[in-house]
């Protein structure tokens, strides 16, 4: 197997693994639009990273975190609904990113690679960032699992029972921000949310526990990455979209299997 294909496969599998459990929370907490907004802001992070000459992964993570904090602040200070705020932030940060990139005439930027990913161009150092980021997210997620479930079920009940709800929510946003920074290289800013929610949605019908749904989503993500890369290798299709198409096909196929009796 050529190096670039091995890099692509490892990067894709690492992402699929963490996207399963985190994506399940995105589905349970109805945060799909939130994920979308963060990923749009990622392009602004890229532009800032190029401008300040820092690692794009770092710049994107920082940008997503700042946006998450800004969103929480805005939600508390004024009466506009969350989805209105998300719409404003998503499109203005995406546009700001595009405008900022156009000012950097001496930097050649492959915009398509950022919008739709360029998995087959993942380098050795990219791979280290992706594996490191994924491992970090998994390690943080394990002790956070039960508190996150508790606040997903009933936030005020969790608060009365002594959980630091604000800190847990912030931690969850940080984890999503890291995953987006990691995933951008793989599927691009426009497709990131799909890797979080499609496998989780496909696993949902057949899961009886939260953990089964999270693991099922990881498994479906792994299969989708393998299928997508195979398609890309033999038919020369773009790798990121091929992975998303594979995931969507598995989602549709999940309706063919009978729902597990409860």
């Amino acid at each position: 197997m050529p190096d670039f294909l091995l890099n692509a496969l490892l990067a894709g599998l690492a992402l699929a693994l963490v996207a399963g459990p985190l994506g399940s929370f995105v589905v349970w907490r109805r945060m799909a639009y939130f994920g979308d907004t963060l990923s749009h802001a990622a392009l602004l992070g890229i532009a800032l990273g190029l401008m300040l000459e820092v690692s794009p992964t770092l710049a994107v993570t920082a940008c997503c975190v700042l946006l998450a904090v800004l969103l929480v602040t805005l939600q508390q200070r004024q009466p506009l609904a969350s989805d209105t705020l998300l719409g404003i932030l998503a499109h203005s940060t995406l546009s700001l990113g595009l405008v900022a990139l156009s000012f950097m005439r001496d930097v050649r930027v492959d915009l398509m690679a950022y919008l739709f990913g360029d998995l087959l161009a993942v380098s050795g150092s990219d791979l280290i960032w992706i594996l490191g980021g994924s491992a970090l997210v998994l390690l943080v997620l394990i002790p956070l699992w039960r508190p996150l479930l508790a606040i997903t079920v009933h936030e005020e009940l969790a608060r009365v029972e002594g959980l630091p709800v604000a800190a847990i929510r912030l931690a969850m946003m940080l984890l999503i921000a890291i995953v987006i920074a990691v995933a951008m290289k793989i599927v691009g800013v426009l497709l990131i949310t799909s890797l979080l929610i499609i496998p989780a949605a496909a696993a949902q019908r057949h899961a009886r526990t939260p953990e089964a749904m999270a693991l099922g989503a990881s498994l479906i993500g792994l299969v989708a990455v393998c299928l997508g890369l195979t398609l890309s290798w033999f038919e020369d299709t773009p790798a990121g979209p091929s992975i998303v198409v594979s995931a969507a096909a598995i989602f549709l196929a999940s309706f063919l299997l009978p729902r597990r009796a409860v």
């Binding site: 349970w28 039960r146 479930l149 009940l157 949902q204 009886r208 526990t209 939260p210 089964a212 409860v262």
Partner: protein, 257 residues
């Protein structure tokens, strides 16, 4: 005074410049059932949220017994349909709960049959009992129940109030509950606090129902409703079957405050 669990004094809360509570006060002692009643918008839920520590009042004094363990039963619970969660797993979100403890708590509230059911599939009455079981699993010193009988039919309501009384006797905890309903609750409580942004009147049910402030707030009709002593030689459980009544007598070893 020494067995007080919480004490709130002169609580003021405003939302968007509208006063919601103006000098409210409240005290709950161990083994005592205190019921908050009052019209819509009287600030009942706001006062309860202050007790729970979910809301910081603009001014006033909130005292809690140090390390007070609160069992809270929220008004409703909405869990997204996509989250696969059984009743057992829901109860096990409380730390250090195993199947046996969850089963015991469910048995105590008469809902042991739903332990393996998905949380979203059980009925409203069963959900109320499951929420109560979860509050009990915290081994609370203070039970806080926000409209515990919402969505339960009338005979089920009476049964639920009696159950709350039994739980108080068995666990010796204090109970603070909110209710809309006047007559059922009056026979199930030790103290009634009648709230309309401030405390209009409070005391034993008989005392309160003849208080002019109470009559003014709930109208003349409420007088006949208010103290409603139920004299039956039998009771009904949630499913309508007859169960033997508990008759208070000199042999009862629980106290009435």
């Amino acid at each position: 005074m020494s067995d007080a669990l919480i004490e709130l004094q002169d609580i003021h809360v405003r939302f968007a410049h509208q006063p919601v509570l103006e000098g409210a006060r409240l005290r709950v002692r161990r083994g005592e059932i205190v019921t908050l009643i009052g019209p819509n918008g009287a600030g009942k839920t706001t006062l309860v949220r202050t007790v729970l520590g979910l809301l910081r009042p603009d001014s006033g004094r909130v005292w809690r017994k140090p390390k007070l363990r609160i069992g809270y039963m929220p008004q409703k619970l909405h869990v997204d349909a996509t989250l696969p969660l059984t009743v057992l797993r829901f109860l096990r979100l409380v730390p250090k709960v195993d199947r046996a403890r969850a089963q015991a708590a469910l048995a105590e509230v008469g809902a042991e049959g739903v332990i393996d059911s998905p949380l979203q599939s059980i009925s409203g009455g069963e959900l109320q009992r499951v929420l109560l079981a979860r509050a009990l699993l915290r081994e609370p010193e203070l039970l806080v129940l926000d409209e515990p009988v919402q969505g339960v039919d009338v005979s089920g309501q009476a049964e639920l109030y009696r159950m709350i009384g039994r739980l108080r006797d068995r666990h010796g905890c204090g109970v603070l509950m909110v209710s809309h309903d006047l007559h059922l609750v009056m026979s199930a409580t030790d103290q009634v606090v009648c709230l309309n942004r401030h405390v209009c009147c409070s005391g034993h049910p008989e005392q309160v129902s003849s208080d002019p402030a109470f009559v003014e707030l709930f109208g003349q009709d409420a007088r006949s409703l208010a103290v409603y002593h139920h004299h039956h030689d039998h009771d009904h459980d949630l499913h309508g079957s007859v169960v033997k009544a508990h008759v208070h007598g000199p042999d009862c070893n629980h106290k009435h405050a």
